[in-house]
């Protein structure tokens, strides 16, 4: 099982499903991270966390903790 966190910089993946729950899960969904959405990891902050992804044509930053909840396939 691969998560967004396993992607290297510059790699892309397709969302299969989401972990987490409640407000956070809803926020992730609302930001366009739904099954089938293509995500590209493009950047990491100076300490490796958070990361920046491109989803639905815009840039979104989230922490590794959140990235681990997003299950993807390459």
């Amino acid at each position: 099982m691969k998560t967004l966190n396993d992607l290297k910089l510059g790699q892309s993946g397709t969302v299969i499903r989401l972990g987490s729950s409640g407000a956070l899960r809803r926020r992730i969904i609302d930001m366009g991270i739904t099954p089938g959405a293509v995500i590209k990891k493009i950047k990491a902050a100076p300490f490796g966390d958070p990361v920046v992804i491109v989803v639905r044509g815009y840039e979104l930053s989230l922490r590794i903790n959140e990235a681990k909840e997003i299950i993807i396939e390459e």
Partner: protein, 679 residues
């Protein structure tokens, strides 16, 4: 409500709300529509409460527009979402203007699909069309309009293009029916279930007619607010649930996700046809290129520090000093002596001469001479904000801030705190977690606000003329250090809790527009001038009066005045800190009204160079430490009270800040004295 749906409205006033994603140009459009001057920044979450204004138009219509906070969705989680949702549901606006950022079509239309379900007339203001074209992309507006079934007006809010057309469209739509049919966007399976819920609702007759699709969707999603809103009986609940459960959900998929997924599928089916991207997939825009450097793993932190150092150097180095010296010359040597000779030539009485020169010119004038320098600092911070750098700073610093129990998002209010504590405290509204929010509010006042600058510079000019920049830098750094320690202290005691998640959009860099920049500066300038004319003038005159007369209203020397008696009463509190002089105590008290007052009061009380006899270099420094850390001004306190939403927490903040200031400055003075005596 049901009967009203067919009514054609005849009333004169048209109520309009502006809804859209954060950072989509909503406030800019609001400013264009109403001619008002609202704060705009390039980071998500600038508008934190709703604001309203009259729309200027040539159609002789009375249009009232409300600017709502930017939101990504109408789910009831963040405070912004709740404000917007309540306004849309309860205020029943005539027309909703949905601002859609053309450069970010998919995600912006996600909110559109939710707004459309409210069954209200909507018009889409397709913003930033100019930017889209610059990027080489193209949207087939006519096709998009046909597919989505909502009228669209392409605009560029920042360049004021298409805004008149938008107003025309709003008026036109407002004259038609108040309710519009909702188009189905869901797959046949989900639509069938939603229709069944709608039928069930119709039997119960509890919902508002035009809003049945919205209600059905929310019930299907399991939206707790909607479920709680309706007073369903157990049987009704079961009836509705029986329909909802017709749709099997597989593992890891829930009903919220089904709806979101179908919304995005619908949107993609449209954007695939209407959006043409001319640039290749690996195209790097200018914004991307800048970002590759600014957020580079190795360069990001050095660059951030360099930016801060640059801001500091410009403000307090040669450019800022030059500005202050010219202002100082103008106020004291041109205006001050001009007014004085005028009074003398008019044969004014001695006390009125004293009031004007020793009271007003010395007090208000001393602070006004710092105005250009304060404006310079504010301009630089506004530039950072408008360009989009603030969200990058939040991104870069997130990990570090997490060590002290804060999220990167707390960084924006903290940086703004160097400008003014009031907007900084208001900006904490973007923090979703109440504990994070309280903690951020608590530490923001330690970021030395620009109003404290006159006090530092005044003291420095007398005691640290040679080491000025070093002392200033030390003071600012001390503020940050106390903020960090405070965060650590509270996070490990009363504000314990899990770190809030961090999911934040990084908007593209934008060239700060001179207009928006001017609005920021004007806002602060106006605020400063109002304070100079009211609080500072009043305080200066009051201080002059109290220090010129005794209790029997005889004109006396300051040492025998009323003020001296009052000051001497407070002064012993500060003797351990090294500034038990009554004039210092009085200055600090007036600082509660406005921080600049500390400087203006000192200028009135210490005439000539008498300040040199009352302070040593060490006690001057411990005085600066106290000014840096003690309770912020009354305007900031009321903002803190509002955002804390609790009198208890506000009181705690005040007591804590006073205690920290007293202990820190006493510590500095006592240790300093000890060290001096040893050597």
């Amino acid at each position: 409500m049901t009967q009203k749906s067919e009514n054609v409205r005849t009333k004169n006033k048209i109520s309009v709300v502006l809804a859209g994603n954060p950072n989509c140009g909503k406030t800019t459009l609001f400013n264009q529509l109403t001619g008002s001057k609202q704060y705009v920044g390039n980071w998500p979450g600038v508008t934190v409460e709703k604001k309203s204004g009259k729309v200027r138009n040539n159609l002789n219509k009375n249009i009232e527009a409300v600017d709502l906070p930017g939101i990504y969705s109408l789910s009831p989680y963040t405070p912004e979402e709740i404000v917007t949702r309540n306004c849309l549901l309860n205020d029943d606006p005539d027309v909703i203007i949905d601002i859609v950022d053309a450069t970010n079509l998919e995600r912006n239309l996600y909110l559109t699909t939710q707004l459309a379900e409210l069954g209200r007339p909507i018009v889409i203001a397709l913003n930033m069309c100019d930017l889209l074209e610059k990027n080489g992309d193209k949207i087939d507006v006519a096709l998009l309009e046909a597919k989505i079934g909502i009228p669209i007006v392409p605009i560029s809010a920042s360049k004021n293009v298409g805004v008149d057309k938008l107003i025309e469209k709003v008026v036109q739509i407002s004259e038609k029916s108040k309710y519009v049919p909702v188009k189905n966007i869901y797959s046949p399976v989900v639509n069938k279930t939603l229709c069944e819920i709608e039928e069930a609702l119709e039997e119960i007759k509890q919902h508002k007619y035009h809003r049945k699709r919205w209600t059905a969707v929310k019930l299907f999603e399991g939206d707790r607010v909607t479920w709680a809103h309706y007073d369903f009986t157990q049987a009704q609940k079961e009836h509705i649930n029986s329909h909802i459960e017709e749709i099997n959900i597989t593992k890891n998929i829930d009903r919220e996700m089904i709806i979101a997924d179908e919304r995005y599928k619908y949107i993609c089916s449209i954007t695939d046809k209407v959006l043409t991207r001319r640039r290749p997939a690996d195209y790097l825009s200018i914004s991307d290129k800048i970002d590759n450097i600014v957020t580079n793993r190795f360069l990001a932190i050095p660059l951030f520090l360099a930016v801060m150092l640059l801001v500091f150097t410009i403000t307090f180095g040669a450019p800022g000093t030059l500005l202050r010296d010219s202002a100082d010359y103008f106020i004291n040597d041109v205006v001050g002596s001009g007014v004085h000779s005028l009074l003398v030539s008019m044969g004014a009485s001695e006390w009125s001469q004293s009031l004007v020169t020793d009271g007003i010119v010395a007090g208000v004038g001393s602070v006004i001479s710092f105005l250009p320098q304060i404006m310079l600092l504010f301009t630089l911070l506004s530039l950072l904000e408008d360009s989009g750098y603030m969200s990058r700073a939040a991104f870069i610093m997130d990990k570090l801030l997490r060590y002290i129990g804060l999220s990167g998002r707390a960084f924006v209010p903290m940086l703004m705190g160097f400008g003014c504590t009031v907007p900084a405290v208001l900006a904490t509204r973007t923090l979703e977690n109440p504990k994070d929010k309280r903690l951020t509010i608590l530490i923001t006042p330690f970021m030395s606000c620009s109003a404290k600058m006159p006090v530092y510079l005044l003291i420095i000019s007398y005691f640290f003329a040679d080491s000025g920049p070093l002392v200033l830098f030390g003071i600012y750094l001390l503020g940050v250090a106390v903020a960090v320690l405070t965060a650590l202290l509270f996070k490990s005691t009363i504000l314990k809790g899990k770190n809030a998640p961090f999911v934040m959009e990084l908007p593209p860099y934008r060239m700060p527009s001179p207009k928006s920049l001017w609005l920021h500066i004007w806002e602060r300038l106006k605020d400063f001038l109002v304070r100079a004319g009211t609080v500072l003038l009043g305080a200066s005159v009051l201080v002059w009066f109290l220090q010129s007369f005794d209790f029997s209203l005889n004109m006396v020397t300051p040492d025998e005045s009323m003020l001296a008696s009052i000051g001497k009463f407070i002064a012993p509190v500060f003797s351990l800190c090294g500034f038990g002089d009554w004039r210092a105590s009085v200055s600090l008290v007036t600082g509660i009204a406005a921080k600049e007052s500390v400087a203006s009061t000192m200028a009135v009380l210490y005439s000539g160079t008498s300040i040199l006899n009352s302070f040593s270099a060490l006690s001057a420094f411990s005085f600066l430490v106290f000014v840096l850390l003690y309770t912020p001004c009354i305007a900031a306190l009321s903002a803190i009270r509002r955002e804390m939403g609790s009198a208890k927490w506000t009181a705690l903040a005040i007591v804590y800040q006073l205690a920290v200031a007293w202990f820190a400055s006493a510590f500095v003075f006592q240790i300093g004295t000890l060290v001096t005596n040893l050597f």
